[in-house]
Each structure stands twice: as structure tokens, then as C-alpha cells.
Amino acid sequence: MSTVIIDGPNVAHGHDVGTGHHDHEHHEQHFIWKYIFSQDHKVIGRQFLVTGIIWAIIGALFSVFFRLQLGFPDQTFPIMEKFLGEWAKGGKLSPEFYYGLVTMHGTILVFFVLTAGLSGTFANILIPLQVGARDMASPFMNMLSYWFFFAASIFMFVSLFVQTGPASGGWTTYPPLSALKEASMGSGIGMDLWLISMSLFVVSSLLGGLNYVSTILNMRTKGMTMTRLPLTIWALFFTAVLGILSFPVLFSGFVLLIFDRNFGTSFYLSEIFIGGKALSHIGGSAILYQHLFWFLGHPEVYIIMLPGMGMASEVLSNNSRKPIFGYFAMIISLVGITVLAFLVWAHHMFVTGMSPFLGSIFVLLTLLIAVPSAVKVFNWLTTMWRGNIRFTVGMLFAMGFVSMFISGGLTGIFLGNSALDIHLHDTYFVVAHFHIVMGVSAFMGMFAGIYHWFPKMFGRFMNNTLGYIHFFITFAGAYLIFWPMHYEGIAGMPRRYYDYSAWESYKQFISLNGFISIVAIIVFFAQLLFVYNFFVSIWRGRKVTVMNPWGSPTLEWTTPIKPGHGNWVGEIPEVHRWPYDYKDDGNGNDYIMQTEPLKPGEESH
């Protein structure tokens, strides 16, 4: 098996962790190397998670602010002035800052929470533990990946405080709006900081992704063939592949935008009259940016979805006490989704005046993606069929994931069909669709993962009662918020509006917007409950007393309750069977560990 030599300040106890013999001569590591500049994948994973949680609170708080404006456009909220100062003079958001908040909400949640916070966390924690490796292929690069993310976070955070406000052209930041300082206040220094931050983010994502792929391909323990990998690892593998292939394209798009903004090039600009004068830019295409952006932007949706799919598969199977139904079909559908994810980006651009023929191709490929998605849903449902289901909090969130994925996936069929998209494009139907499918659903998958692997991460359990409260408020709240938005969208109500009261066609929804805002605020507080539960449980939660609290056959539960750097004491266990052997083991258990050799006459899966 592969040998990994971890050097650097982190391995103060200086042994070759890869070769198996493990000396127990432990020096106490300095706090800085153990918890801050750590190269231990488990610590890095937790760093991603905590940073992600902090960003999630900020991003969600922003949505509370702009929901107050949307729900109650004629009222003032003096408390907002305390938070936002000049931007909410007299307790009313300024339109500039409203758009800044909307943009930041999107950027933070899509990239910082659901990309870095989600796959950063679980790829780091689960990959070495579930494939049977001491650490990532390059622990140092892995550490860098976190610190680039941290640097990106700093730039994004700083951009919130500059005088002209943060970027405010929407999370997609289409030029010319984002390219010209005259077009919007947020297109000043705020936009520069946004681009710097996002470029650092791309670097972080690539460093992480390359590590995940090489670890999965090269560092599996003895006997861990690819077809014995848990579906979480398959999902995280394809997530990393998607990121590696598409983030560089986004980066190139950003570089051209930086050039247009600062060095007078005209990649995206042509024939513009703004701020009282005609600009000299000619010959560029604003649509080019959209192609480059969505070439990442669409795979990004799957970068967000796949980890949740993997974790939901794992948690559903574990708590139904049944193997995942159609393991190979699940892998093939992941492959299908990954390949198709690269071929559908222009369905975000049906109304940009693109060639109708090209549009037709993208319609076909887009609706094709419904097939592997449907297969996954049917397989999840069949996994539960005739199971012996225990409703742990993780299980409930995994079920919530499936429910939300169905709801949000089905509305995608409307939007992917260009003839319907013409009317629904950029309305609240889109807002409802993607919030359900890649917002709430991905969050549900993430929560399932956090509740399920919390014992592995911290050696303690989270509080169950609070977990159940958290689940039901979130699940019900998410439907109450986003279900009615479909109606607004079908009625043509455009997204990204600051105030609808002047519109004859949309003002009938004003009371509905108020209702949505109230529910959103309640759900926000339910998430704080989770955060509270999370942090208190790290130190005060019920202690884990057995190695394998969920009765799961996978490798991470063969490590000590609180694994040190290197994960296994002694040799890395050898794997003999697939990860879903929920069968009677003859000793009264309803599962057989992956490390258990096949019995005489037993066929491997």
C-alpha cells in the first residue's frame, strides 16, 4: 500500500505514519501546530466546518435584513441601523445596500458555506477515514487549501466595510454592471475585493480538490477496491473532479473581468454609454462572461449537491439497517450527473438571445439529467422499503434531503425546458427552485452529515431533543418559505427587486411576502439553536462510549473514539467486503464490518 510521509512541524512525534508501526512516544504538540496550522485532515475539516458555520450565520443574517425590506417595505426597523449604520438610515435599507446584501448572501452561501463549508468539511474528515488512509495525499497542500479559503474569507469580509459597499451585482456579477464603476456603487472597490477573494477561493478549491482525488485514487487501504468505497467517497470524488475541471474556467472569466475593470481591455464591453459619456470599448461580448461563469456555475450546483447525495445515501442506509439499494446504479448515476453537469450550462442563458438551435441542444441535455436524478430518488426510497428504520436526527435530515431534492428537482424540469423558461426566467420561481434544491436540500444533507459524524469529529453526541426541534422547524419552515414563492414566480414576479409596491401586477403578493419574511426569521433562529447545540455539545455533549455508536460497517468506526493524527493505532485495517453489509453477523449484530473477512462459502457483493 502507499506510504505517506508527513513532515513539517506537525509531526512532532516524528514517526513514519504510513508504514504501520506506530511508536507511542507522544510529545505534546504546541497549540498552534495542533489546532491552527494543523496538517491533520480531521482538524482541517473541523476548521472548514467552523468557518462555514460562521459564514452561514452572516449569510443568513443578511437574508433576514433583506427579507425585512421585502416583507415590510413601508416600515422601518431601527434595530437594522445598529447593525448597518449609514446603510440603513432610520431603519430602512438603502437600495444600494439591499443589492449588496443580496449579492453577499448568494456568494457566501453558494461558495463559502455550501462549497468550502460542505465539501471542505466532509471531504477532509471522511476521505482518509473511510478509505483507510493516515491522512491526505499532501497534508501540507491540504492545510494551504484551508488557509487560502481563510484569506478569501478575510477579503470578502473586508469588502463589507468599504465606503462604496460590497459587490452588488448579484452573485453572478454579470458585466457590464460589475465592470463599470459608473454603473453601480458596488462595482467600485467592493467588486475588486470580491474578485480577489473569489480568485483565492478558486485556489483553495483546487488545492483541496486535487488532494481529495489523489487520496481516493492512491491511498486506499489494502482490499479497499473502488467498488468497496462507501457512496460518500464516490460522491466526494466526483465533487472534486467537477471542481478541478470547472473552477479554472471561472478563474479565467474573473481574470478577463479584472482586465476590463482596470486595464482598459474590452472582453465583455461594447458600445456603452454611461455616466453621460460614450465609452471607447468596442467589440467585446457581455455574453462571453456568462458562458465562462456558468461553465462553472452549473457544475457548481452539483458540487453543492453531490456531497449531500453521498451522505444521505450513507445515513439512509445506516438507519434503515439495509444496504443502499442499487449501489452500482448509484455510482453510474453519479457518473451521469457529473458528465452532464458540464454540458448544460447555457440553460441559464435561454433568454440572452442565443441561437435557438443551440438552445434546443441544451434543453435536451438538461432534461436528460433528470434521469440519473430520478434513479437516485427511487433507489433512496427503495433503501427505506422494508427497513428497520430508526429516526436519529441524521436520518430525519437525510429524509428531508430526499423530500427537498424531489420538490426542487421537479421544478427544474420546468426551468430546463426553454419554452417554459422564457416566462419563468429570473422570477421567484427560479428563486424557489434553487433554494429548495441546492439551498435547503444541500443544507439538509450537510446537517445529516454533521449529526451523524459529530461523534467521530468530537467524541461526543449532539443533543437529540434540540436536534429534533431543529429538524422540524427547518423542514416545515423551508416549505413554508419557498413553496408560495412558486406562485409568485408563475405570476411573473421578478427576482432581485427592492420593492414591489409600485407594480400593479405584483402588489397583490405584499402580504405573502410579509408571511415569508416572518417564517424566514423563525427559521433563522432555529439555525442559531443548531449552532448553540453544536458548540455546547463539543465540550458538554454526552460522551461517546462505544467505538461504533451507529452500528455502521464503514472504516471510520474502526478508529479510536478520538483518533489522533494518523487515525489508527497500529496497522491500518484490511478491507474484505463492501460497505453496506447489513446482514446478521451471527453474534446478534445486524451489520458486518468491512474489515471482517468473508466467511467460508460467503460470496462477496
Binding site: 464591453l269 433568454v351 433507489n379 428497520n388 416566462h423 437529540n464 447545540n533
Partner: protein
């Protein structure tokens, strides 16, 4: 002060909920843990069932609540196809939605863990998997077929007899240009734009521009039952001409000309009667984020009969006349003021 009180209240509620959670943990430690687990499992299973039925009731209620608040029937002929296709898709996805959600919640309840139950080891079944790969594929193929027919129909060439109107977006309103008597829109150049007297940068060397009419109030006049082709552009950033009542939408991109065409079915007056709303108005919304005034970038469409339209058109002055006409009769001081641009245009010839 009130902010402080709310904060304290929120913290209090948190502490209470946390204590409840803690009490739950202690209770499970005191009583037999397996028994508590069984009880919790049962409760959750029932809660899920309740959730499902409440959810279905909620959907029904929601439908009832918004029944009268949705858009009236499509105001364009192309939108009629949209409406029917939307219904088909809704039925297909609706069936799948109810079936899968029901199965999800039913399985959760039916197969909740009990002492007696053992899970059924069922790793795969190729026949089943092939069936549920094929069925969605066929359903999708059908939806794609209907979709593409409508899509190619909507994006096809406009009929020869279509009226032509240009719509140009700028931060934050719409400029509408009618071709005038000659039926031809003259050339324009963004370098000739001047907010004082040439908002669209019309090239006065082009004779076709002389009779063009520009409306800066965002009013788009259309003739009922007559196809209209919109030539769409933008002066600054990307906008989007959104016509929800006509089920039409097209981006306005600087440097690129986009088009869309459709045939209005009902005049504004007819729509007022149909919706029983005397304030009814067709609105143009900007559907592409364009800056701080995005939400206020509103235009209106006025659909008229041919006779009404002709009468209205007769009253409009050409843009050339409104911007340079005052200078012509006076020929004095005022002309100087107007001169730079038009003179330049003439000398450029």
C-alpha cells in the same frame, strides 16, 4: 431599548429550549435508554405522518389562497401554447411529486424500527432499475418534444407584416422607438448619444431616422391581433424586457441586438373587463439585475385596436422634430444651442 428587550427575550427562549433539550437527555439516562429510544422513534414516526398530511392540506390551502391572484390568460398567441405546456408539465411533475413524497413518508411510518422487525437484505434488482431509468427517460423525451416545438415556434422569424418597434433599456427606464411612416428604423450609433437631444444616438445622416418617433415615458403601443417584432438593445448594462402577461422575455444586451416577436390577443381595455380590474395595466418589468434602480425600471404596454393606434400615431411628432423643430422657425439664438450635434452630423457626411 425595545431592541434590547427583544434580544433578552430571544436569549431567554433559547435558554428555555436548551433546558428542555437537556432535560430530555437526563430523562433518557434515568429511564431505560432503549425504552426511551423506542418511544421517541414511535413519536417521530407519527410526527412525520402528521407533517405529510399537514403539508398536503397546506398545498391545497395555498392553491385556494392564490387562485384569483395569478396572471390572467395569456395576452399573446404564443403564450397560449406556454399556458397549456405549463399545465402538461405541472400534471406530469405533480403526479411524480405526490407519489414519491407519499412513498417517502409512508415507508418511514410503515417500516419504523420495532423490536420484532428485521430489515430485509435487498441490495439490488436490475429489472426494477431498468424500469425506473426508462420511464423517466420516456417522460422527459415527451416533455422535450413539446418544449422544442414551442421553443422553435417562439424563436422563429417574425412574419413579414409584423410591426417593428425598438425597445432600448437604460438605467433605469425604457426608451421606445417607432419607425414612423416609412416603417424603417434608421441607424443609430452609441457615440452619438446625448441625453439632451439624442437619447438613442440616432444618426441624422440616415434619412430613415427623420420620421422615427421616440417615447421616453416607457409606453409601448401595440395593435391587437397584429404581430409585433421588438428590436431590443441596451445603452449601458444588461437589462431584460419582461412581459409577464404575454409570457415573453428577452435580454437587452449592450453591443448586441436581440429580437422577439408575438401577437397580442387582447387590448388593454378588454383585459380590464376580463380581470374586472379598472387599474389593470400591462407592465414591462426589467428582469435582469441592472443596478440600484432595477426594481423601478417599469414600462407599460398599451394594446389598442388598429384605429386607436393609428389615431395615436398621428398625434406623435418625430424625434427629429421634437429635438430640432423649435430651432427651425426661430432660427435665432436657440439654433446655436441645438447646433453642435446636428451640425456635426451633417458635416460628417
Amino acid at each position: 431599548m425595545s431592541g434590547f428587550i427583544t434580544l433578552v427575550l430571544i436569549i431567554l427562549v433559547f435558554i428555555i429550549i436548551y433546558q428542555i433539550g437537556k432535560a430530555g437527555e437526563y430523562a433518557s439516562m434515568l429511564r431505560e435508554e432503549t425504552k426511551v429510544k423506542e418511544q421517541t422513534n414511535k413519536t417521530i414516526a407519527w410526527l412525520l405522518v402528521a407533517f405529510f398530511f399537514l403539508g398536503m392540506y397546506g398545498i391545497w390551502k395555498c392553491n385556494q389562497l392564490f387562485d384569483g391572484k395569478m396572471l390572467p390568460p395569456s395576452a399573446s398567441e404564443q403564450g397560449v401554447n406556454y399556458d397549456s405546456m405549463f399545465m402538461y408539465t405541472l400534471i406530469v411533475t405533480g403526479i411524480v411529486f405526490f407519489a414519491t413524497q407519499a412513498v417517502l413518508f409512508w415507508f418511514a411510518f410503515r417500516y419504523q424500527s420495532t423490536e420484532k422487525r428485521t430489515a430485509f437484505f435487498y441490495p439490488h434488482n436490475n429489472k426494477l432499475e431498468i424500469i425506473w431509468t426508462t420511464i423517466p427517460a420516456i417522460a422527459m423525451a415527451a416533455l422535450v418534444a413539446v418544449g422544442l416545438r414551442n421553443w422553435l415556434n417562439v424563436t422563429s422569424e417574425a412574419p413579414k407584416n409584423a410591426n417593428i418597434v425598438e425597445v432600448v433599456g437604460k438605467q433605469f427606464n425604457w426608451l421606445i422607438r417607432y419607425p414612423g411612416k416609412d416603417g424603417v428604423l434608421g441607424k443609430r450609433d452609441f457615440r452619438k448619444i446625448n441625453d439632451a437631444n439624442n437619447v438613442m444616438g440616432l444618426d441624422w445622416n440616415d434619412k430613415d431616422n427623420m420620421d422615427d418617433i421616440i417615447a421616453q415615458n416607457g409606453e409601448l403601443h401595440l395593435v391587437v391581433n397584429k404581430p409585433v417584432k421588438l428590436i431590443i438593445g441596451s445603452r449601458d448594462v444588461i437589462h431584460d424586457v419582461g412581459l409577464p402577461h404575454f409570457r415573453m422575455k428577452m435580454d437587452a444586451v449592450p453591443g448586441i441586438v436581440t429580437t422577439m416577436w408575438f401577437t397580442p390577443r387582447f387590448t388593454t381595455k378588454q383585459m380590464k373587463e376580463m380581470t374586472k380590474n379598472p387599474d389593470f395595466v400591462y407592465e414591462i418589468s426589467c428582469d435582469q439585475m441592472c443596478g440600484k434602480g432595477h426594481y423601478s425600471m417599469r414600462g407599460t404596454v398599451i394594446v389598442q385596436t388598429q384605429a386607436e393606434y393609428d389615431a395615436w400615431l398621428l398625434m406623435q411628432q418625430s424625434y427629429y422634430a421634437t429635438t430640432t423643430a423649435p430651432a427651425a422657425p426661430a432660427a435665432g439664438a436657440e439654433q446655436k444651442e441645438q447646433k453642435p450635434d446636428s451640425v456635426k452630423a451633417v458635416t460628417m457626411k
